[in-house]
Subunit: 272 residues, 3 copies
């Protein structure tokens, strides 16, 4: 079966140059800024509570990444999110490590209760941790369970869609992007993406850019295709002399920078 | 007309290895540290108020960059600046986003009222935002106005020189470096510099190194030539395989690392 | 004399994939994360006091790097360290700039009094600053003294071993790794390592990975050989076109990523 998907979000980013307000972690913040510039968007990192309203209302989208979250940033996150909501700017949440500590899960739940999130992107452990306790019991969903079929993970993601009204992206060997009724499966990617820091955070930023320029399920899925396919291209460019994870990271950003909608169409490995 | 400029600041940095104390943003802090090392200076990043006096007095220069400023850092900035002033160490200010929010403008005004700044480097919007309100009205300077001729921008920069006693560098397609009486125009650069994060911050750091080693208008202008020409060289080195913004960033740091005064003389595109 | 050293820690990291909890500085945090992934370990950066116990007990080792330390992080560091101690997880301390300010020395002394440290890694100035005041006077050790023979530095390091019960690594042209009774000297390395930021911090992270997977003097020494030899390999790969400090940094991470125990055996320059 040939699956037709609309990759026009890539071009929409290049044309609209959306400004993405990022409140993110200090490990990969430079990577996030560079991937946003590479794809045609513009980053602005800001987190003092006194400028959240001005910046969040000026931006085309808000990325919240809790990778090195501390309690004192929560007030800024909530104010930026509230402002983005009021101005109909999409909010993308990357709940890094939500399944790892009670503190992070608590932070994410407070965010989800206070702000409407448009896209939640996480790995299977993170997404499962966020699903409503009652539903999890009712459906036997156990966040601690590490092996779950693609179909089961899709069900969990769909629950989170219903709980939150968000598009949910679950990353893994196959990425799942769903709005609760329709699901797109993206099989692009390369194991080397896990040998550098920031692959996941950069996908969150890319999703904010694509969704900020064109708020649709296919835009979010396009971001997943772009990052995964860029990983494949980066790996293919490596040689004996220019090999290793340092080079891979450089080639990955190059590939996102050079990507076109035609390349995505040609390279996408999709399923529905 | 042949313009003769003194590029000896580059060699002075290599010989004196100035230690630059940086209080900067977490997005591009790694880039700033690497560009300082690449040009022959040494970086020290420190921001706890308890060590500001020891570090600022030991360093050859202080770089203040407000890229991700939060209110709690202001005390450290002011103490470091005061210490640098008392010890006759040059202070370089990069007022990132000063025109974007009232909070940032307020922070910068408090800095300018409390510390003598030796060099202020910013883009046109940032520099215009800093010009004294009264003068702005008197001269019809409107920070919100986006199109301003080179001559008008030079006038605004000169006002800021008079307000503050600082050398002012306005970055753009043509960089303006002025002390209020003399202006040097630098036409080096490449559009690709805007496809990576940190170009502007790295120029601020480079200016701190050059000015820290040799406090003069020409030293500041040399830093602008160096960064712009390095961008040209980095772009020229790109190939189909080693192209894209990831590679450009690597080549940019390489070019600053390999730059010589002779290369600056040959590559400089100047106007006065 | 042929020195036989056991480099199996490299393979142990690849097999065990140790999770290293890092509380580190924001200048080189991205480099630390990437070097951990490059060598086969996994990084987790976290610093909110509310999640220190969960994360430090889940991790295989804790890295404390005070490169941009602020007072408000001390509580988290002490709690993470105490948790690591209670769970018999090794703690690696990188006392960046301990000799530079009274504030940093005070922080490090408080850490050493509160936590058992397994490995302390620093340059000569940092290590000498940590040696107990009384012993320093008794043995005439002067932290301010910049020229000290290898044998004298080994004596200072051995004092710190006795004071703290830690393995001590003193970096320099020759690295010294000692537990107070045995000393291993590592002569690998390249001057270019000082032209990029993060060489020292990355060695601290690598040591945490190696020692986390295999807690032994030889594991710590293997990390020093790996970083030094990777620097030699990275330099050797440079060409006119791919030269400069930007490229060196990429090749350095590549070399750590591609390193094998056989390469370490072949490349090690050791003395005892």
């Amino acid at each position: 079966m040939v699956i037709i998907m609309d990759f026009s979000a890539l071009q929409a980013v290049r044309e609209k140059n959306p400004l993405i307000h990022c409140i993110t972690n200090y490990v990969t913040v430079n990577d996030c800024a560079n991937i946003l510039l590479a794809c045609g968007a513009s980053p602005i990192m800001a987190e003092d509570v006194h400028e959240m309203e001005e910046i969040a209302s000026a931006a085309s989208g808000l990325l919240i990444n809790i990778g090195t979250i501390t309690e004192d940033k929560l007030e800024s996150i909530l104010l930026a999110g509230k402002t983005a909501n009021e101005n109909s700017r999409p909010v993308i949440l990357d709940p890094v490590g939500a399944g790892a500590t009670a503190f992070r899960l608590g932070i994410v739940k407070e965010i989800l209760q206070s702000i409407h999130i448009d896209v939640i992107k996480g790995n299977s452990a993170e997404i499962c941790a966020l699903v409503n306790e009652n539903e999890r019991t009712a459906h036997g969903v156990d966040a601690g369970e590490s092996v779950r079929s693609l179909s089961e993970t899709t069900d969990v993601a769909a629950m989170l869609c219903r709980d939150t009204g968000a598009v949910v992206m679950v990353t893994g060997e196959t990425d799942i992007i769903t709005d609760g009724s329709k699901a797109i499966y993206v099989k692009n990617g390369h194991p080397f993406l896990s040998k550098i820091t920031g692959s996941g955070c950069m996908l969150g930023a890319l999703t904010a850019a694509y969704y900020g320029a064109q708020p649709s399920l296919e835009a979010a899925a396009s971001a997943a295709v772009c990052m995964g396919y860029a990983g494949e291209l980066a790996y293919a460019r490596m040689t004996e002399k220019h090999g290793g994870s340092g080079t891979f990271r450089v080639f990955l950003i190059d590939a996102v920078n050079q990507m076109t909608a035609e390349m995505l169409e040609r390279g996408a490995k999709l399923d529905v």
